[in-house]
């Protein structure tokens, strides 16, 4: 196609995407529907077959088999009562430290993140268990709600991670390497959160007062009991991926089965919980796969019409430093993160960004980790941070949306620091995957 036509087409398509998204049409169907119109324009009626073949090819993708399994594992954990056991342990071991309950809540979120590929599980569980307990013991609402919203978001950075699976499938990057790339930054970010909470509460104990009840060592050690099996499960799932003994998909299968067995052993799951977990898995998985289908079909049209190539050339043609382009991409992620779910953001941006990343000689695994850290912010930045809505749904009515918005400010800043650290020292993300 002539350059003029491609340019006009590009402008029209971008305008249409924005138009339909802003009017509330789901991302999957905005992209899928525009792919239909685009296919008609570039190929005519015979091009429509591409949509059906894309739907089939993506929904039979070997990599994406891990998606429903990790979602199911997370949903089972939510009903397993593990959160109660973990919180009891934290309460007995760390309650006497200033801010100890909030620090412990972040640690629980990190442990949950190592078992669940999504952020909502830890956020809901801790919102229901840790939040009332902290508020009752005089913790200020900013620290109590902030640590849960931010801690819950760790779910996508510490492996396993649904977001990384989707990114890996789109960017054609090894899922195992992405998972391992997220581990060190995930632990680093958790440590930064913990350090921040501890220091603030240490210098100003009114924010997070120590609990004035001490427990015997026997009581403390008894509280560890409920955590042993899940701990083994984490080691198993991450261990088989790291050692290469099993693919991430297989690890997802074993992990889901393991989580179900744990829940049955502790007898904490009812049949109704089980059915709810199944239904929730069914709809979340469909949401992810339909976005993938719509976006890949859309990408095919963009690529064939020469639009992705043109945007790439235009950006490269600016002769900017590649670091400015990286900054612009991260900034775009951050802005989109205020309004959209990470799954939608990957799909909107990968057709343009991934070829750019490769052309600029950035490591796509490293870029995937940066993207995921950025998406941590997306979960807690207003107006549409997913975790903020979960928090609003579980907090007592006297905590307002404004309180929740204010509570996340320091945590977004800390996430920003972690993002910059991983940009400055790529080894933080790349050391572990390169040792696989």
């Amino acid at each position: 196609m002539p350059l003029m036509e491609v340019t006009i087409l590009t402008i029209i398509i971008i305008a249409l995407v924005i138009f339909f998204l802003l009017l509330g049409l789901p991302v999957a169907f905005t992209l899928g529907g525009l792919a239909v119109l685009g296919a008609l324009y570039v190929w005519g009626f015979k091009g429509l077959y591409m949509l059906a073949s894309t739907a089939y090819a993506e929904s039979t993708s070997f990599i994406l088999i891990a998606v429903p399994l990790f979602i199911f594992m997370a949903n089972i954990l939510r009903y397993s009562g593990l959160a109660d056991d973990l919180y009891e342990m934290v309460y007995k071991w760390m309650g006497r430290i200033p801010g100890g309950l909030a620090v412990g809540t972040v640690i629980i979120c990190a442990i949950f993140a190592a078992m669940a590929g999504i952020s909502s599980v830890a956020t809901v569980s801790m919102g229901l268990i840790a939040l009332p307990s902290m508020l009752k013991r005089g913790y200020k609402k900013e620290i109590a709600t902030g640590c849960i919203s931010a801690g819950g978001a760790l779910g996508i950075l510490i492996p396993p991670s649904i977001i990384m699976i989707i990114y890996g499938a789109m960017a054609e990057v090894s899922i195992g390497k992405l998972f391992m790339g997220g581990l060190v930054p995930g632990i680093l970010l958790s440590a930064i959160f913990c350090g921040y909470i501890f220091l603030r509460c240490f210098f100003n104990p009114r924010i997070g007062p120590p609990v004035d009840h001490s427990f015997s060592w026997a009581e403390k050690f008894r509280s560890v009991k409920g955590v042993i099996l899940p701990g083994l499960l984490i080691v198993l799932v991450l261990g088989v991926i790291y050692s290469g003994a099993a693919t991430p998909t297989e690890a997802a299968g074993i992990g889901a089965l393991g989580a179900l067995i744990c829940a049955l052993i502790y007898r904490k799951i009812s049949f109704k919980d089980f059915r709810d977990a199944l239904l929730s898995t069914f709809s979340l998985n469909a949401m992810v796969l339909w976005i993938v289908v719509g976006a890949v079909a859309f990408t095919h049209v963009l690529a064939y019409a020469g639009i992705s190539g043109m945007i790439k050339d235009a950006i490269l043609g600016l002769h900017l430093s590649r670091w400015w382009i990286l900054f612009a991409m991260q900034f775009t992620f951050f802005i989109l993160g205020m309004f959209l779910d990470p799954a939608g953001i990957i799909m909107l941006t990968t057709p343009i960004f991934v070829p750019l990343v490769r052309a600029l000689n950035f490591d796509p695994v490293w870029f995937g980790v940066l993207f995921t850290i950025n998406m941590e912010m997306a979960y807690i930045t207003p107006p549409f941070g997913f975790n903020l809505f979960i928090m609003k749904a579980v907090v007592p009515p006297e905590i307002l949306m404004g309180d929740i918005y204010r509570s996340i400010i320091p945590f977004v800043a800390l996430q920003g620091i972690a993002l910059i650290m991983v940009i400055l020292w790529p080894g933080l993300a790349l050391w572990l995957p390169s040792s696989m």
Partner: protein, 177 residues
């Protein structure tokens, strides 16, 4: 009223599909775990687990599209949408949701063509398993059809809302996923 009944029937259909096919993930979990056990304990990896699971993923994902729409799971931006009145929302949805409908129509049309061809020619996968492709291929038009029905139900409800001024869509409570 006929239109309301039709909507209820479509809701029930997709709920029923979800209740039944949500168990597919259990089959996936068991077969994949079995594959790992077979490889390490029995030293005999299966030649079917990976491929079967691809078809199972297709089944689960395609058939879930309508249910996800029913429970409002599909990711969307409702930042502007929220500030409109009931009737304005109905007008907005009527002016945008045709995009879903043409998307689904294409999937049903082209997908059933591909599935029908596979059925007639007895097309099989190019693997050791040589599994028939029709059962998984047909999930694309069926899934597209279920999504189409759910989208049509929503469009009908929007028309009702416009006519009666009563919230038939339940769009006001869509904030929480």
């Amino acid at each position: 009223m006929f239109v309301k009944r039709l909507g209820t029937v479509i809701d029930k259909l997709n709920s029923w599909v979800a209740k039944f096919f949500s168990y597919v993930v259990i089959v996936m979990m068991v077969t994949i775990s079995y594959e790992v056990v077979a490889r390490y304990l029995f030293n005999a990896p299966t030649d079917w687990s990976g491929e079967i699971n691809q078809y199972l993923l297709c089944t689960m994902s395609m058939l879930g599209g309508g249910y996800a729409l029913l429970v409002d799971q599909h990711v969307r931006v409702d930042i502007i949408y929220r500030y409109f009145s009931l009737k304005q929302r109905a007008v907005i949805e009527l002016s945008t949701w045709w995009l879903i409908i043409i998307f689904c129509l294409v999937l049903v049309w082209k997908g059933s063509g591909a599935a029908f061809d596979a059925l007639v020619s007895g097309k099989r996968s190019m693997s050791i398993l040589e599994f028939p492709l029709f059962p998984s291929l047909v999930m694309v038009p069926i899934g597209g059809g279920l999504l189409l029905l759910q989208a049509l139900a929503r469009v009908l409800r929007n028309i009702l809302t416009l006519m009666t001024g009563v919230d038939e869509v339940g769009s006001g409570k869509s904030l929480f996923h």
